[in-house]
């Protein structure tokens, strides 16, 4: 299996999509080398996120499969009216008559010196908006596979969450049709003592923590990568919690009403009697993201937070 970086895997996905799907159109500024080959299906919009995201939604209603690249996730806030009020409700409002197969690709998260307006983690906003799918790949293979699924198969809008700090992560990417289905979590590491639920950039951090916990504490942590938040693989979450009886949720979103909050609520409702210890969350404290390195590091959920949390609930 060829090894490549997360960024290379994503570019490869885009090339395959453009080769296979004549209805695919790329809207946005970050398609570099693809530009020449598919020039007639790459649209470079002005800096008008609301306008071009809405245009992508209208195009998706009428037979295209647009992939919009907004760059930094903070910028999609400028387009929210079209994403939250139009794209997400069109199928529902038409009682199922309309499909909106559009992909919004955004780079989220604490990237290093992004400060308040280049570090956004908007997953909770989108998860709280019925009608949007959310892909949160953590590996090169999943980045490619989930992008292929979103762009080639999906009939509904997808927010594709890409994390800047994953771009250089290398890993194997299978050849051939490598679509990864939505709604299927992956157990990245088996363990019997505690479940660590993670997405996106927190998956490698959780794996690192699990290694160290095994070495230093003899704790066998099971790391479950959700891969998509919507649809959510509830069964995989509950099965792992039933097996270990302890759970820590690691997510790089703000803590209140964040990804961890919803998962914790789900577990309390549906797996409470399997629990041997309180549910723990590792998340960003409820603050915007600061600029200076010392402060930024302080608010970034890391493997050390995961280890500390696991040690507490496994005492």
């Amino acid at each position: 299996m060829p090894e490549m970086s997360y960024a290379e895997a994503l570019s490869q996905a885009l090339v395959e999509i453009m080769e296979q799907e004549p209805r695919a159109v790329l809207i946005g500024g970050a398609f570099g080398p693809l530009g020449k080959r598919f020039a007639n299906r790459i649209k470079q919009p002005p800096i008008a996120e609301l306008g071009y995201c809405g245009i992508a939604v209208g195009a998706a209603m009428t037979g295209l499969r647009p992939i919009v690249s907004l760059g930094t996730a903070s910028f999609i806030y400028e387009a929210l009216p079209q994403v939250l009020n139009e794209a997400s409700v069109a199928r529902y409002g038409s009682a199922g008559q309309l499909s909106v197969p559009v992909v919004f690709h955004v780079r989220v998260g604490i990237r290093g010196a992004g400060a308040m307006q280049h570090s956004a983690a908007p997953q909770p906003i989108f998860w709280n908006t019925p009608g949007l799918q959310i892909a949160v790949p953590s590996s090169p293979a999943d980045a490619k596979g989930l992008m292929l699924t979103a762009a080639l198969r999906s009939q509904d809008p997808t927010i594709f969450i890409d994390h800047t700090r994953l771009h250089r992560l290398r890993g194997p990417v299978p050849d051939g049709p490598t679509e990864v289905p939505f709604g299927v979590a992956q157990v990245k590491r088996e363990g019997k003592d505690v479940t660590v639920l993670a997405t996106s950039v927190m998956v490698p951090r959780a794996l690192e923590a699990a290694e160290q916990l095994a070495r230093e504490d003899g704790i066998a942590a099971e790391v479950v990568d959700l891969r998509t938040l919507v649809p959510l693989d509830k069964a995989a979450v509950l099965a792992s919690v039933a097996k270990t009886g302890r759970v820590l949720i690691a997510d790089e979103t703000q803590k209140s009403c964040g990804v961890g909050a919803e998962l914790a609520a789900l577990i309390c409702e549906e797996a409470f009697f399997h629990l041997k210890a309180p549910v723990r969350r590792v998340a960003i404290p409820d603050v915007p993201i600061p600029y200076s390195k010392s402060e930024e590091d302080y608010v970034t959920p890391g493997s050390h937070h995961i280890m500390a949390g696991v040690r507490e609930i496994c005492r």
Partner: protein
Amino acid sequence: MGELSLETTKALLRRMLLIRRAEEQVIHFATDYKELLTGHYHVYIGQEATGVGVCHALQPGDYLFTTHRNHGHVIARGGESGPVLAEIIGRVGGYNRGRGGTFHVSAPHLGILHTSAIVAGCVPLAAGAALSAQQRGTSQISVAFFGEGAMDEGASYEALSIAALWTLPVLFVCETNGMAGGRREKGESGPRLVDRALALGITAEVVDGTRLAAVCDAAGRAVERLRAGSGPVFLQVQTGNTWPGHSGGRAVLQGGDFDLTWAYDAAAAPQELREWIETSDSVSILLRDLDRSGVLSRAAAIELDREVRAETQAAAKMALESPYPSPEGALQHVFGR
């Protein structure tokens, strides 16, 4: 009526009357029944010539996007009053199985895909459908109907600007009805919204929306330009003085349903309506023109209206007899999978 044949003219008048009578029925739903139409809603009375004139220039397969004031546009495009009325009262027989209601009447089979009640929400979407047609190499065009209020929203300018840049086949129809958010400050929205489109390099003109022939003429030329691939067109359609029955989101029928004889003799109409009938009501103006030019006599028009009223009554009956959707259906159609 210039180039329009007698048959066409009659057909267009019929559409306008269908809209008028359907909208009156909507008001009856709200005022004559308990708990039938409890929310607010927006009627198209007076503006009929704009929707009908623009839609006359379209072909099957073209796209249409509209707003909270959509009922008239859907019927103008060929929508039937029954499913429109059923939708407005939330019944299964509606075009969207009652899911969308008055704010979101759409009819995908007529190219009316998704109706947004967010002011200016439809403007980027229409440009997007135009991009789709352009990319797929079809001759389809896309139309966005919106009010002057939408020209206060940023979304409109972003969409207009990109449409101009990408030469998209989209027709922007800005209907200035003297209302934006229930405010009625005559002239405040200004006759020159068109300048804003011109400033973005978009072909644009002001159209007299009280006259069907003027709308047909401008829309016809616009559509020709769009199909030739010459880029977007913006029409500022002045729909005249606001219909006096608008009252926030709950309209009132002064003097009851419109009596066609008022069109010919405004003095017979309720005081509040007289000036509007004389200067602004596109239905009244068309009726008088047709009568004067001998194209359609008063008697013939009244006969046509009788048919339309019977059709509207049947449509209302169909809507009222249509059941509410089953409650747990509310959980369906969030996703296609």
